[in-house]
Chain length 325, copies 2
């Protein structure tokens, strides 16, 4: 069975607040068609791909935000995406706001097989931002208001991808946006032999809290740095995909990337618009790191990692005392 | 109290097998003097700085290797380094092979205050390589033979650095060589609010196990990538220092770097010889990350990190089963 396949990052330009799901879905179907023409077996869409990045808008009453969430997928509005995937024989990754029958709210991603079946579901664990209106910020980032932290852990599954023949299998894991900056998340995937990490993001071009200490251009660099390090240190591919451009007057950066297990950028989007970039993965290349420098069984020393699970926040270290003289 | 200070990476060119400690120490004293002239309060020397990188040589009988280890520091041969530090008012980091009175062997680093007192001691946790002679390798990498894994964890201490006035304090942690590729090690330091990570390395320019999947130029890139990601994700400075050049006929890369809490390279050595590069740290800059995007107390979710301590090696994921149709 071949272990090679073509991966597509389906970056999306902005979705304005006034735009509805049908406009988004129509653009996504066009991206899916382009990805299929470029030979891809799997297409990765951004985080919260069906609407504007609504956590920038404050609602006192959470119920006023209900219209941003999906309660069922596929729905009447999103079904064309499922139909296109089946017609094209391509799997896809989709990020969306999820509201459960019990009224719980998550920032969620799924990987859907061309058959339309959901292979894997993940709920974002590392929610950035804040939960109450912050009068100091010019732009709110209310993810902690609109979502609860994911409760599914970081699952990995071995599953078929789409594409001609549909024969290529890979160990698939999902992350969402801010998760990519957290090495714990990558490592939990790596400990399950992940070979392909799909992740979407909506990341503002400007850090409202930078206090003059973080140059603007580092916003993109930090994103790419985190994905590259995650791939290298866990011997996996990643497809990291932006919603980009000026949305509701606020700029999100693009620079979607496909990264290999050596941490090399194989392909990069260079617009802030709807754009497809592809790269061919060969999952046998995940084995080099996994069996040599990052052979976890031979080299890891969990007896010294206890703080990672026993502490949440950091603690100040002891002060050194010189010996009496 | 000022939180600014000048850091020096004191890279060393090769030490041949035939060279003794006095030659190494004389070069280190010269590097320390240059670092002091460049205004540094702290000088970082490489891993195993006093000898050639001896794990490339196989000894059937470990006792034949005893001459590579230090049983006391300072010793007659190394005392000039301590004397120079005191004279110059500069602290230093030194990597060396340690043999304890009980005969235990570690790959060790210490940070020494200008007074000559040892502030912090660390024993390398992530030993790369192998423990038995490998006839397939052109160059042996016998760290697992010559050392046992460190037993001190990843300690951090708040301590004064050297330099004029000796007033600057920092939260100091140490890593050694291969540790820099392991995000667990950085995170355990970050959870103790580390502000300055000192680390030395001896890294071959060629990966003997690359199977054609890792381009040679990525050797340096992987080193820098790991240090940059570690600094960014833990809001700290690092001084990462090579022993470089052709040692016993085998090439080690240089490219020592000083990196800031934004993951930016502030200074880089560009020879494979004895070379000092410096950069000014401002430890107040560690606070931006620590109190915003990497405010661990607000954002970390250890309930989903259990695999990091409960597993050593990786496990294969379950296989997805499509629903019956």
């Amino acid at each position: 069975m071949s272990r090679r396949t073509i991966l597509a990052a389906c970056q999306m330009g902005p979705l304005q607040r006034a735009e509805g799901r049908p406009a988004a879905v129509a653009r996504m179907v066009a991206l899916l068609e382009k990805a299929a023409r470029m030979g891809a077996s799997v297409a990765v869409f951004p985080e919260l791909a069906l609407t504007t990045f609504f956590p920038r808008w404050f609602h006192e009453d959470l119920r006023e935000a209900d219209h941003w969430y999906e309660t069922a997928l596929p729905s009447n509005e999103t079904a064309p995406l499922w139909e296109a995937a089946r017609r094209l024989g391509i799997g896809f990754h989709l990020g969306f706001a999820e509201r459960t029958p019990e009224g719980r709210r998550f920032n969620t991603a799924i990987y859907v097989h061309p058959s339309g079946e959901t292979v894997l579901k993940y709920r974002k664990v590392h929610l950035p931002g804040h939960s109450e209106y912050d009068p100091i910020r010019k732009v709110q980032h209310l993810e902690k208001r609109y979502f609860e932290p994911g409760d599914l852990g970081f699952p990995v599954v071995r599953a078929p991808l789409g594409g001609p023949g549909g024969e290529t299998e890979a160990n698939i894991g999902l992350l969402i946006c801010n998760d990519r900056r957290w090495p714990e998340a990558w490592r939990v995937l790596g400990l399950q032999q992940v070979e392909l990490v799909m992740l979407g993001y909506n990341t503002p071009s400007l850090n409202m809290e930078n206090r003059g200490f973080e140059a603007h251009h580092l916003r993109v660099e930090h994103s790419v740095l985190s994905v590259r390090a995650g791939c290298y240190q866990n011997s996996c591919y990643a497809v990291a995909v932006a919603k980009a451009g000026t949305e509701d007057g606020h700029e999100l950066f693009g620079h979607s990337v496909i990264v290999n297990p050596q941490g090399e950028v194989m392909a990069q989007a260079t617009t802030w618009e709807d754009e497809v970039v592809v790269a061919e993965a060969d999952f046998t290349r995940c084995e080099l790191g996994r069996t040599t420098i990052f052979d976890f069984a031979r080299h890891r020393r969990p007896e010294h990692y206890a703080r990672i699970v026993e502490q949440v926040g950091s603690v100040a270290p002891p002060r050194w005392s010189p010996a009496e003289r």
